[in-house]
Symmetry: C2
Subunit: 251 residues, 2 copies
């Protein structure tokens, strides 16, 4: 019972933290990460016909809505039902509210409207589902763009996702990956880390090099850039992370 | 056995992280926090005779050495023996080495010399001890300056420290406190949080207001300012925190 309460609390806290990350204020002059990634992805996909996009690891849905300003149809998928419910709530009631941490256990209630982001006219183009990137249902296919932001180092077997993702893209489709490559055994058994280790010859395998190996057969690497993001934990404590965006064009 | 290995690993990782925090590079243009705090504390203590300073929660010792450029005698005390050993090692062998996280489990060995910081001529003025801020030995007294950076929200009973610290200061001595007020039950039982909760009337008690209550009897609050710090966790992931410095003059 105590464990369950702790988990519920942490889930609520995490949902609030991610709502604030996606729909809240910007800090240290760093652009909203979901917005930045969606805009960059749209630009990288400019040679597609902008029909169908997949936002995999969509969290509370901001980038899915942002992509729907350009794409005709957007799937937003996250492993967390609680996160997906936020996006659906924004579609259904046109606003969401969440709690933001103050000092200690002090909380502030925040409310945002779908109109704050000009998502009102496009929200019906977004389709949210709970799903597992390592075992995605076959219906999720035929995309011009697949975007997976800060996902791969939280998957239990990221190769299951990376080795098959090309099958879900149209010809010349774009795959946009971002990650800070924060490999941790609590999320991914070490044998499944894509990079961040030394091989049997003592050679250090970076994630980017390993991605080139894993994706190279089906993709051309067309761009790499750093995209920073800031997550507010308390009024005074933030995570400041530099994600690496790699952009892959299906060959 | 497995738990013990994990603990040793985490300790080593934390020691490396703090060595890098105190002796490593600066990130995002944010000044080395230990240096910034020592310099500010020296300026705030300019009306004392700069005889004796206490750096409580000294971690790996940087600020203790920095204070010794001005003070005749500096005590550096930390709850962690592993942290204190770093400062002692720098005194003894004039250099330290530590591991810095790369991607995943890749590590880099870093080495710094006492001469990199011009601590060589003053290091013998610093006296490191392992100690508990909530139960400090009586010999630690007679200070012109007591500095406690990012300490109070990691104490098990911070009032034991705060309610008696004036006894260890000389008349007109300066007490410099910094904290991001990140109260967590894993460090401090909620009943002992200094602030960050609502009282029985629903009134929100901020830590700063509670500090004014707790310290007001013996101190005048002479200054408040924000001091940022950045802790590097991986090449791409950082903690970016805005500590609040409050400066108290013993009446």
């Amino acid at each position: 019972m105590e464990i369950k309460e702790t988990n519920i609390y942490e889930t609520d806290e995490l949902v609030g933290q991610y709502c604030d990350f996606q729909y809240g204020d910007e800090y240290f002059g760093v652009t909203n990460f979901a917005k930045a990634c969606a805009h960059k992805a749209v630009a990288y996909a400019k040679e597609t016909n902008y029909s169908k996009a997949l936002d995999l690891g969509c969290a509370t849905g901001y980038a899915s809505f942002e992509l729907a300003k350009t794409f005709d149809y957007v799937d937003g998928i996250d492993y967390s039902q609680a996160f997906v419910n936020v996006g659906r709530e924004l579609q259904r009631s046109r606003h969401i509210s969440y709690t933001q941490n103050g000092e200690g256990e002090i909380k502030t209630r925040k409310e945002v409207s779908i109109d704050d982001f000009n998502f009102g006219n496009v929200s019906s183009k977004v389709h949210f589902s709970q799903g597992d990137a390592c075992a995605l249902a076959p219906e999720f296919t035929g995309y011009d763009l697949i975007m997976a932001t800060n996902l791969i180092d939280r998957l239990y077997q990221p190769h299951l996702f990376l080795k098959s993702i090309h099958e879900r893209l149209n010809a010349n489709g774009i795959f946009v990956l971002t990650s800070p490559y924060t490999w941790k055994e609590e999320y991914t058994d070490k044998e499944f880390w894509v990079g961040g280790y030394a091989d049997e010859n003592g050679q250090e395998i970076t994630t980017l090099n390993a991605l080139m190996d894993m994706l190279g057969e089906h993709f051309e690497l067309v761009a790499i850039e750093d995209v920073p993001f800031v997550i507010r934990e308390t009024p005074r404590k933030f995570q400041y992370t530099i994600s690496q965006m790699s952009v892959w064009k299906k060959e």
